[in-house]
Amino acid sequence: MDFYDFLNMKIRLIKIFICIVILVIIGTFFLGLNKDSIYDTKGLEGSYIGNIKLDHFNKNEIISKKNFAQKGFTLINFWASWCGPCKIEHPFLIKLNNEPSLQIIGVNFKDKKENALKFLNDNGNPYDLLAKDKFGKYSINFGIYGIPESILIDENFMILKKFIGPITEKDYIFIKKIIKDS
């Protein structure tokens, strides 16, 4: 039996195979149409944050994992005085500050100290602990790519939720629910 006999025998199979491949491709296209083509990092929820390193806002010391609440939840909020949407989410942070089992850590991002202080004076200070990231380098370690952005973690440093953009009413209710359910 040579190559051509083989080919003739298998021709039906090859035809069916081609049809299936094309159907799969078209099916993929069809399903792909309904997917959002804009990327965010929400896929990383459920993973753990490794080494944590941040500068303290006032003191000349480094904030690491041991400064984080050993029990309950922590919300790490990245903000700056020059960021418009940060003002919008600020009232929700103030309200969340009343939650006893939620620690809020604010990270002042690429900001000037006096501007940041003025912002907190004008809008209130919801943070249990205030850190700064002058060059934005530490934020990379948290997977931040634009502010405002907030990360809700549990005591094991697992990411429960990423809030990309300002925290909204819905996010606020979500956080309250998580705390209540635990």
Partner: protein, 121 residues
């Protein structure tokens, strides 16, 4: 003839010695990292805030003596696989990396069979 062989071996040796003269290329790394807030731009091409920060961090990592792959893996851990333009080889990118070569080999075999069959007759 002897002269030719001499020239040839010289050329080959020079070519080989040339290959090892390469070190880590920052720009190459920046080109392989996607700027998340841009439309299809790499960090090297973009001048957004995010791109600037990533450049700073990558520079630090290089100074720490991290290899190219360690840098990519660090960023993938933080931002997901979307951030690198060269998808790492794993279970769901295996088709992407293997199939082109497979297609190449199958194509070659097909042509070989076509020709070989004629030779046998």
């Amino acid at each position: 003839m002897r002269v030719k062989t001499l020239i040839l071996s010289f050329v080959i040796i020079m070519n080989i010695s040339n290959v090892f003269a390469n070190d880590i290329n920052k720009n190459e790394i920046f080109k392989n990292i996607r700027c998340l807030i841009c439309q299809g731009q790499s960090v090297a091409d973009s001048n957004s805030d995010f791109a600037q920060t990533i450049k700073l961090v990558v520079n630090d990592l290089i100074d720490d003596g991290k290899s190219e792959n360690e840098i990519y893996n660090f960023l993938i851990e933080k931002y997901g696989e979307w951030i690198v333009y060269k998808p790492p080889f794993n279970s769901f990118t295996s088709i992407l990396w293997i199939f082109p070569y497979l297609a190449f080999i199958i194509g070659g075999v097909l042509i070989f069979l076509l020709i070989n069959k004629r030779e046998n007759r």
